[in-house]
């Protein structure tokens, strides 16, 4: 237990994000707890609008101006960030925690060279001068598998393919040796063949650089397999969290079970599962389980009171947290 505390990179309790919308306040993230240690990959899975991207932006202090963040605890490598100034957060971004975005085509500045963009965080955080930044950029471009790295430094983003641009983005996050990398749907915009390559690369880098990796995705099938643990989000909260193998073999929450049924199985006559109904509006916080309207197991008690995350593991190490009244373990 002490070892886990020492290597803790991120420790979050009760993270909430409210977004001001014309109709009122959207409770987009409703009390999320996260623990992430060095060398560990946590995958945050959920469908569009479940609050996973806002969670990432809240951790980076990059929320849009209409969104506000609250947390009872937000520790980053032992530092309490709930009281950190905007300037302190800017000092951490790129240096301590870096982020990879979904859209490699638009996430790089079209009028700056690859070299200049890679050098920007390095120089900003006082890691060295221009020459040192160039050396570092070259080394990292080669490490992330960009062919002809030396010429790429002088090229502009439009001269690179989407896959290469995302490799550049990955190299950029590594420039200042951060402790944590947040990757928000890093492969969604790319060809399927490139997706697996990039995820493999991220997994290798995580090991080589001893990073903590927070992988955000809607793709339970491909992406989650690269994670040590998976947290499933629904309507702004985590409904189930477990070691990856555990979650795939013994999904406890009906939403997770439904998600897994939606994955293509490869059977010739298999039909693809779907989840009926829609995500509830979060303009007011749902009482009880947010999934109950779409759940085939729902009972009267589901809507009565907030349901806590409880450990359903049989005590063999990693906790298996589930937010459900019923015992639906297969």
């Amino acid at each position: 237990m002490t070892a886990a505390v020492e290597t803790s990179v991120l420790s979050v309790r009760d993270l909430r994000v409210d977004v001001a919308v014309p109709m009122g306040t959207l409770h987009a993230v409703r009390g999320i707890d996260l623990e992430l240690a060095r060398g560990e990959t946590l995958c945050l899975v959920g469908e569009s609008g479940c609050g996973k991207s806002l969670t990432a932006l809240a951790l980076m202090d990059l929320l849009p101006s209409k969104a506000t963040r609250r947390a009872s605890r937000l520790d980053f490598v032992g530092e309490d960030l709930t009281r950190a100034s905007r300037r302190r957060m800017a000092d951490l971004r790129g240096a301590g925690v870096a982020m990879i975005f979904q859209e490699p085509m638009t996430s790089l500045n079209p009028v700056l060279t690859i070299g200049a963009q890679l050098a920007a965080p390095y120089i900003r955080h006082g890691k060295g001068n221009r020459a040192a930044a160039r050396d570092r950029a070259l080394e990292l471009l080669e490490r992330v598998g960009v062919p002809g790295a030396a010429t790429r430094l002088n090229q502009y983003p439009h001269e690179l393919s989407g896959g290469l641009r995302q490799r550049v983005m990955i190299a950029m996050t590594l420039m200042c040796q951060p402790a944590l990398i947040i990757a928000d749907e890093p492969t969604t915009a790319l060809d399927v063949t490139i997706q697996a390559q990039l995820l493999k690369l991220l997994a290798d880098l995580r090991r080589d650089f001893d990073l903590a990796l927070l992988l955000i995705t809607h793709d339970l099938g491909l992406v989650a397999r690269f994670a040590d643990r998976v947290a499933v989000m629904y309507a702004g909260e985590i409904v189930e969290q477990a070691a990856t193998a555990d979650l795939f073999t013994k999904p406890a929450h009906p939403y997770t079970q439904a998600l897994l049924e939606c994955l293509p199985t490869g059977d010739a006559d298999g039909t693809l599962g779907t989840i009926p109904g829609v995500v509830p509006s979060l303009l007011s916080e749902p009482s009880g389980c947010a999934f109950r309207d779409r759940c085939r197991h729902a009972v009267d008690g589901c809507g009565r009171a907030a349901i806590p995350l409880t450990d359903v593991a049989n005590g063999d190490g990693v906790a298996h947290l589930n937010r459900c009244l019923l015992d639906l373990s297969p």
Binding site: L62, G94, A98, N109, V111, H158, M172
Partner: protein, 305 residues
């Protein structure tokens, strides 16, 4: 980049040739130039003599080549009114117009770029709204009227500036303000919308995710994108300022190219009018060519065409 430069210069030469030909044709817009030279009451033989004397009986393309050759050697003909070489006439007038135009453009950029940035960053704020009012008024008010207002205010109510002529630098103040204000709204609105687009873009989010600070993000990452369309607009606006100086030079009695052009049109002094059109178009072509090259230098994507 070299290929781009070559192509762009080729286009400029092509446009210049077309302009010179159209300008040359001006000589024939008011009917037969030989008749005009000889006078309406002259006999047919005299008209034919003049036609032969001035070479007006030759094929039009031959005349054009002849005229263009002279123009390239710096001979733009004689002014019919002043009886002076047109080149000498222009040499005295062009500096005045260029000075007013360049200062006005400088003033417009000095106002509109910072104002556009501030308006974009604090969108909907007080400065943004003031800038909008400034832009609407500037766009709606004719330059001659604004010039007259300034003459009334600074020439008569608070007589601190000369209202006509340009004997010293003070004579340039009011014309530069009038022309500069005319060019301000379009540039300011373009900087504002460009900055708003840039600041909402994914690459600015990336810059923030790298911990970069406000000034660096604004100037290095956002403005560089926002000024790409500004370069072309500035070149075109500068061209407008030069040709639009006809009004301002008349209002403030400046002896510039615009005023000379206006007077020459009234006097049917065709060689002078031709030369002025030629010079202004030449400057215009030079400006847009430079703007395209500058754009390509700032924005690598523009080099592809």
């Amino acid at each position: 980049m070299i290929a781009f430069l070559g192509k762009r210069l080729l286009v400029a030469v092509g446009v210049t040739l077309v302009i010179t030909f159209l300008t040359f044709l001006l000589l024939f817009v008011s009917g037969d130039p030989a008749t005009a030279l000889a006078g309406a009451a002259s006999r047919a033989e005299d008209v034919e003599k003049i036609r032969a004397l001035y070479g007006l009986d030759r094929p039009i393309l031959v005349q054009y080549a002849d005229w263009l050759g002279n123009a390239l050697r710096g001979d733009l003909g004689q002014s019919l009114f002043f009886q002076l070489p047109v080149v000498d006439l222009l040499a005295g007038r062009l500096p005045v117009t260029l000075t007013v135009g360049a200062l006005a453009m400088g003033l417009a950029l000095a106002i509109s770029v910072p104002l556009g940035i501030v308006a974009a960053v604090w969108r909907g704020g007080v400065i943004d709204r003031l800038a909008l009012v400034l832009a609407v008024v500037g766009q709606a008010m004719p330059t001659f009227w604004f010039g007259l207002i300034l003459i009334v205010v600074f020439g008569m109510m608070v007589p601190i500036l000369p209202i006509s002529g340009a004997d010293d630098w003070r004579g340039y103040v009011l014309p530069v303000i009038v022309l500069g204000y005319y060019a301000t709204p379009a540039i300011m609105r373009l900087v504002r919308s460009g900055m708003i687009d840039a600041l909402q873009s994914d690459y600015i989010r990336t810059a923030r995710a790298n911990g970069l600070l406000g000034p660096t993000i604004l100037l290095n990452h956002a403005l560089r994108n926002a000024i790409v369309p500004l370069v072309s607009l500035t070149a075109v606006q500068f061209g407008f300022l030069l040709s639009g100086s006809i009004v301002v030079e008349s209002v403030f009695a400046l002896n510039g190219l615009g005023r000379l052009g206006w007077e020459s049109i009234i006097r049917s002094d065709l060689p002078t009018v031709q030369a002025i059109i030629l010079v202004l178009s030449g400057i215009f072509i030079l400006l847009t060519t430079c703007a395209d090259i500058l754009t390509a230098w700032i924005d690598p994507r523009a080099r592809v065409h």
